[in-house]
Amino acid sequence: MAATETPIRPAGAAPKQRLAVLRNGWRGLTSMRTALILLFLLAVAALPGALLPQRSLNASLVDKYFADYPAIAPVLDSIGFFDVFAAPWFAAIYLLLMISLVGCVLPRTVEHARALRAAPVVTPRNLARLPHHASATLDVGIDEAAAAVRERLSGWRSAEADEPGGTRTFSAEKGYLREAGNLVFHLSLIGLLIGFAAGKLFGYEGQVIVLSGGGQFCNTGILGYDTFRAGLRVDGTDLQPFCIQVDDFTGDYLPNGQAASFTTDIGYQSTEDLDAGRADQWTPYTLSVNNPLRIDGIRIYLQGHGYAPRFTVTYPDGQQRTGEIQWKPVDLTTFLSEGATKFERPGVTDEQQRRTSQLAVTGLFAPTTSGGPVVTSIFPELRDPEVAIDVMRGDLGLDDGRGQSIFEIDRSKVDSGELVRVARANLVPGQSVALDDGTTVRFDSVQQWVSLQVSYDPGQNYVLVFAIALLLGLGLSLSIRRRRFWARLTPLTGDDGTERTVVEIGGLARTDRAGYGEEFDRMGAELVPESASTEAKDG
């Protein structure tokens, strides 16, 4: 860009000019004012992330938003308002902020390291011009007065100097930890963000539903999961192997149906167990809300639960098929659930015949039924289960190449008449319903299922360490005051030959209106007791 402008400038000026542009740009970027503006932009940019549904949190809410506001949703989507925290403009703001921060903090670190080695600033000529100052003439010799000052300045970084005429000066500074804390805070912030980013790159999260009562899950690949969110550098081929077996799930409820506690007893086999070939030994563990299982850097969480009704279909030729698959809770207070348990008739090889004999048991499940003709649930615990089912027969559309939900049947097949209802019944465990061809569908029992989340984040321990350092740095930088103190002792000889000393002291708070007055007054009261110390305003 600048190169095209060179012809109008004398040769040789352009590189300098460019350098100046760069230097000014860098200065501008690392200035406090820019940092302030970037902080504001960051706050404003995060706002749509709170106000609008986000895909990363709940994609179905985003879909609902699209349905509710068809006019503006695509516009908002095109500027990334439904994925704010992955949007390039959001990244641009925090990256600029990081650069600005580094550009500001690194030079300050060097400067602070230099200041730590340097002697305190020499005593100003006129201490009375400082914001805090006091003076008095004491009836002691200069050595005694100097000793008092020296003692008072223990804990301060101080230096003494002699001026002509026997005058002695002290200069002292305290509160270096303020700047140190400030730097630790900002450097930790950078470290924290790097840890956060590393977790996003190399970590993953997966959710899987496992049936209680012996259901198993092994972390062998992405396909084992119901949903899987991989970090940018994770391709799913190299997951840490381990296995989980879910033995039992217990939910306790209050009389009003509010949940009191959830626990699930599981067994696990770690990578080490698997490598050693101990495939039949399960280490027991009780998983509960707030209490994940942590093995080999992986965390396994109990995230949800529900019911899986078990149905057995007995065909006219005596063959039986049993199906048990999770149904989805539709009401989280009563756990009324819905789902579809699908069956293929065994021994049917003819494609045409297969597509007319598939069965689906679909409907509602109540863990504690109201007992009325219309099945509803009155309590979330499994006390008195009942299902209200439609048995559908025909082509479920399982092999038309499209994926379908495990919780429902393909409605288009119903509309086209390829799938028809052949029975409708309310069943309690043990009851069955007969179809027109002599097939019976029996509701056997109910199993519970749990939804587990497997998380891996290699960056989170670093994030924690940096967060603690950040907090300590913040505490230091906000609680410690950086202040300077000077004293000038001038010897006097009284008319009667006694030794006297004029003590002048002065103080300057180097930090932002944090209040140095009280401490200075205390020092003044000790060193120059008779004086009227002038307390300047605390700012």
Binding site: L57, F196, L474, L478
Partner: protein, 311 residues
């Protein structure tokens, strides 16, 4: 079923509101009876106007009512604490499990923060009326619209992290009310000071801009690290409960926004050209974001943090 202790807690709550309202009235009398500012104006009639006095008036009717107001606020805070403790014992859990309880604790912390700040910066005494007003409004809303009777909390909240995270976040929110009010009045004060030719008004009795600014800064630098700690504790809890330490849940996002705004406030205080009104605006925006997070995000936006207890 509310037990006797729960009912006792509710009565204490009502008594607290009553005492605070009384204190507000006394503060109001003290404020309107404060002649110190006016005296300066009268004394300066015709001459160049001085900026109104900075020190708290030490004698007179205003000071007497002011001291009575402070005593009542202390009494109110003790009743308030009693109400929260009684509720905790009645429910046999940490009493920060729903909106009513958050608000009660936030208001207690605002009042305690104000009392401590007043000790450090006595010249801010006339601010009391303006601190108590939002406190009383919040308590009224909490006790009526948002009230729920005692009961246990859902399993995810049964963790010691709740004690750490919710307490620190609520405490810092309450403390930040004081700087929010102080900065807002700072802006009013600056506007009043900028027009010395207009007649005397009640606003002359506000503490000076310098006192308001100092008070806002001092309380903020105490509350901000507590808030930061509360966020970190929340991340630790989320790691144990939700499977990840940070998930951009709406509540987290707005807390992040608040944190960034308060960070901007601290930077603004150190930036030339921003030190005065700029910083105060930022501080007001920070407190507005905290209030937004408390009400709007808890009650309107669905997220993982939906524990308002409003069903």
């Amino acid at each position: 079923m509310p037990t006797d202790l729960a009912i006792f807690s509710d009565r204490l709550y009502m008594a607290t509101v009553g005492v605070y309202v009384l204190a507000m009235i006394l503060y109001g009398i003290a404020y309107s009876a404060d002649r110190s500012a006016k005296a300066v104006l009268v004394g300066a009639a015709g001459a160049e106007q001085e900026s109104p006095q900075e020190q708290a008036p030490t004698g007179g009717r205003s000071a007497r009512f002011g001291r009575m107001g402070v005593a009542l606020v202390i009494l109110g805070a003790l009743l308030h604490l009693g109400s929260i403790v009684a509720r905790g014992i009645a429910a046999w859990r940490w009493p920060l499990g729903n909106m009513y309880e958050f608000i009660s604790f936030i208001c207690l912390m605002a009042v305690v923060g104000w009392l401590v700040a007043l000790r450090r910066v006595p010249a801010a005494r006339n601010l009391g009326l303006f601190v108590l007003t939002p406190v009383v409004i919040l308590l009224f809303l909490g006790g009526t619209v948002l009230y729920v009777s005692t009961g246990p909390v859902v399993p995810p909240l049964q963790s010691y992290w709740m004690v750490i995270h919710v307490t620190t976040i609520s405490a810092s929110s309450g403390l930040l009310l004081v700087p929010g009010v102080a900065s807002l009045l700072f802006l009013v004060r600056r506007r009043v000071d900028a027009r010395p030719d207009r007649g005397p008004s009640l606003l002359d009795r506000l503490p000076s801009a310098e006192v308001l600014d100092r008070l806002a800064y001092r309380v903020t630098i105490v509350a901000f690290p507590i808030f930061t700690f509360g966020l970190i504790a929340g991340a630790l809890w989320a790691e144990a409960a939700w499977g990840r330490f940070w998930g951009w849940d709406p509540k987290e996002t707005v807390a992040f926004i608040s944190w960034v705004i308060y960070a901007a406030y601290l930077h603004a205080r150190a930036t030339a050209g921003w030190r005065a009104s700029g910083a105060a605006w930022v501080n007001v925006a920070g407190f507005a974001s905290m209030i937004f997070n408390l009400f709007f995000v808890n009650m309107v936006i669905a997220g993982l943090h939906s524990y308002a207890g409003l069903g």
